[in-house]
């Protein structure tokens, strides 16, 4: 198992380097002059190319070196936890990331938990009532929410719950998952991807219910609830966990809109600010963190498979 995880990590490295390279190159050749960005709020004419002070800063930061040397230097420092300095505020990027990452992770985890706790049972209920009104209601509802973009849903919910019904305060910023301010952002984060999980759970249950082993379970005279919970739901978990992995990935990497709408200082907001300010050291740091989180999610999903399906367990035994 450990060997398997290590192998996965080793395979992950070339992908990381390639993606970092692409982002680095994009910013290097298209992101504007970093020295000008750094001093954009000060006397700009002092920091024009040709000015000795400009050249001195450039020399000092090593920005005169060739592209590949700079990239290699960046990777080397990254290995030691140094993501460089933000161009706009001069703070270390590592510290900024350390503040923003837990927020995005906790939103993704909380939303995933809501999706799993609400979405999977809804999918199962829909399957057990196939083509009846409950099924139609659940599927129709899922499709409805799937069709509403985050930036439409978020203001609508705020108008409804904060202004019209006056039930909740207007959410702004982030005060932890269990704060009353988090109800609306988490709802918005969970509603759309939940549609995917509901549909996946529903179709997986329908598939399993037509399997021969369900007929065997019934032929043994097991009560229907045992047949469903013990024999049907266990095999359903595999495809549902796969879908949950995709959902989790989307929540981690796609937090941009949600965080902008609610002013949450997570990775998404950092990415937006980085793009607006041409701050490529921040952008590169964000890219790396999102990449690491997505890979970690996929790794977790892969580790879950053998726990859920004994057939995969012995394949691994054989491979070791």
């Amino acid at each position: 198992m450990l060997q398997y995880i290590l192998l996965r990590l080793v395979r992950w490295i070339p992908g990381v380097i390639l993606l970092m390279f692409i982002v680095y190159a994009l910013m290097f050749f298209g992101g504007g002059d970093p020295v000008q960005i750094m001093f954009s709020r000060e006397a700009t004419d002092l920091f024009m190319p040709g000015n000795p002070r400009y050249e001195a800063v450039k020399e000092q930061l090593g920005l005169n070196r060739p592209f590949l040397v700079q990239f290699g230097d960046y990777l080397w420092k990254m290995l030691h936890g140094d993501f460089g300095m933000a161009l706009t505020d001069g703070r270390p990027v590592a510290r900024t990331l350390a503040a923003a990452t837990p927020i995005t992770i906790s939103i993704a985890l909380a939303a995933s938990a809501i999706i799993a706790i609400v979405g999977i049972p809804l999918g199962v209920i829909a399957a057990l009532n196939q083509n009846h009104w409950a099924d139609n209601l659940i599927l129709g509802g899922a499709l409805f929410f799937w069709g509403i973009p985050t930036f439409v849903m978020a203001p609508l919910l705020m108008v409804l719950f904060c202004l019209e019904l006056n039930l909740l305060p207007v959410p702004r910023g982030w005060h932890g998952v269990f704060d009353v301010n988090s109800i609306i952002p988490l709802t918005v984060a969970a509603l759309r991807p939940m549609a995917l999980v509901i549909r996946q759970a529903r179709s997986a249950v329908l598939d399993v219910l037509s399997e021969d082993y369900i007929r065997t379970a019934r032929a043994k005279g097991l009560p229907e609830w045992v047949t469903i919970i013990k024999h049907a739901l266990r095999p359903v978990l595999t495809p549902v966990v796969t879908q949950m992995g995709v959902v989790m990935t989307n929540l981690l990497a796609g937090s941009l809109l949600l965080e902008i709408v609610f002013g949450i200082p997570g990775i998404g907001k950092l990415i937006r600010d980085g793009i607006l300010n041409n701050d490529y050291s921040v952008l590169l740091g964000c890219t790396f963190v999102v990449l690491a989180l997505v890979t970690l999610t996929n790794l977790l999903v892969d580790i879950t498979y053998p726990i859920l399906d004994p057939r995969l367990r012995s394949t691994q035994k054989g491979a070791e």
Partner: protein, 347 residues
């Protein structure tokens, strides 16, 4: 011809009727069409008796059995008939009452041991769970019983194999486990739905031996569904031949092999390698044509288009089962207007 028939030498423990099915009729609804899957099937089986049910794919063998146990897919409906198991009509039971019968009094062995086991649960769990849910024993007792059952059906090293998953068993072992599963609650009747079809010929013979041995030791009644006449020849007391949802011939095994009467039975026997008309013929004989479209309401003999004995009456009327003189202990009945033995029309 009797070469194939072995005397099972069990003496006569039969006589008391265990299951009496009368006029069982099942229909499927499929895209606006009505499929006449089972058309008034009647048969009975005594305690400890083995009944072979023979016919080609889609002739209603399995559907008949699944109808009785309420295991039909949602698109199917039993529209008429009774199935008395002891004094209870299985077709009138509600789902709770049926649950108490299934697995407990009537065991079922399915065709494909690969797909009939749940891949994510251990074999031991699946074999023993009916004991727990029929309140026969607790978890520890069920495990003990499973070990005993594994030994009975010839699974080596039962204590260890208990915790194995289905994919760790070979096809033959899985089918043995399936038999153990069907026998767990000591049912009076076991319905085996083509239990050897998915297995190698050598494994087939082993499984038949296991079942025969258990039947003789435990005195259970068996309904053995197959499309292989030669397989049931050495196993069944009586054989029922089905075609297009009808029972077309029923007789004791000896009688059926001695005096096969329905043209379809004759065709099936002629197709057996051991029954080839000429020993040096290079090809096995076969029945021309294919089974009828079950969407049409049956009004004439369903075998008519493939029958070489047909007379005019066959196209106008549905032949009903009637008894003909036989030499077995139970009547020999045939649903055909023609006496193929003498080619004389029966009036």
């Amino acid at each position: 011809m009797t070469r194939l028939i072995q005397n099972n030498g069990r003496g006569n423990i039969m006589g008391e009727t265990l299951l009496q099915v009368t006029n069982l009729t099942t229909r499927f609804h499929s895209r606006g069409n009505l499929i006449h899957a089972v058309n008034g099937v009647s048969f009975k089986i005594d305690k400890g008796e083995t009944l072979g049910v023979v016919g080609e794919s889609g002739c209603g063998k399995s559907v008949t059995m699944l109808s009785m146990l309420h295991l039909l897919p949602p698109a199917a409906r039993v529209v008429a008939g009774t199935a008395f198991f002891h004094d209870k009509d299985l077709l009138k039971l509600n789902s709770r009452e049926m649950q108490r019968i299934r697995g407990n009094h009537i065991g079922m062995i399915f065709q494909d041991p690969m797909t009939s086991f749940n891949p994510v649960l251990t074999i031991g769990d699946q074999v023993g769970e009916s004991l727990i849910y029929h309140n026969i024993s607790n978890r520890a007792g069920a495990e003990k019983r499973v070990i005993e059952l594994f030994r009975m059906v010839g699974i080596p090293d039962p204590e260890a194999r208990l915790k194995d998953y289905p994919h760790q068993f070979s096809g033959g072992m899985r089918q043995r486990a399936m038999i153990a599963m069907a026998l767990a609650c000591e049912p009076e009747l076991v319905i085996a739905d083509e239990p050897t079809t998915a297995l190698d010929v050598t494994i087939q013979a082993q499984i038949v031996e296991v079942v025969k041995d258990l039947r003789d030791r435990l005195g259970i009644a068996i309904i053995w569904i197959t499309h292989d006449l030669s397989l049931v020849a050495g196993l069944a007391d009586r054989i029922m031949v089905m075609y297009a949802g009808n029972v077309i011939e029923e007789a004791t095994t000896e009688d059926l092999f001695d005096q096969p009467t329905h043209p379809y039975t004759l065709g099936l026997l002629a197709a057996l390698p051991a029954f080839q008309a000429s020993k040096n013929s290079k090809r096995l004989s076969s029945i021309p044509g294919s089974p009828p479209d079950l969407r049409a309401e049956p009004t004439s003999c369903p075998f008519l288009p493939r029958c070489s004995y047909a007379i005019n009456r066959c196209a106008i009327e549905m032949p009903l089962a009637h008894e003909i003189p036989g030499n077995g202990s139970t009547p020999h009945s045939v649903a055909c207007f023609v006496n193929t033995q003498e080619r004389i029309t029966v009036q």
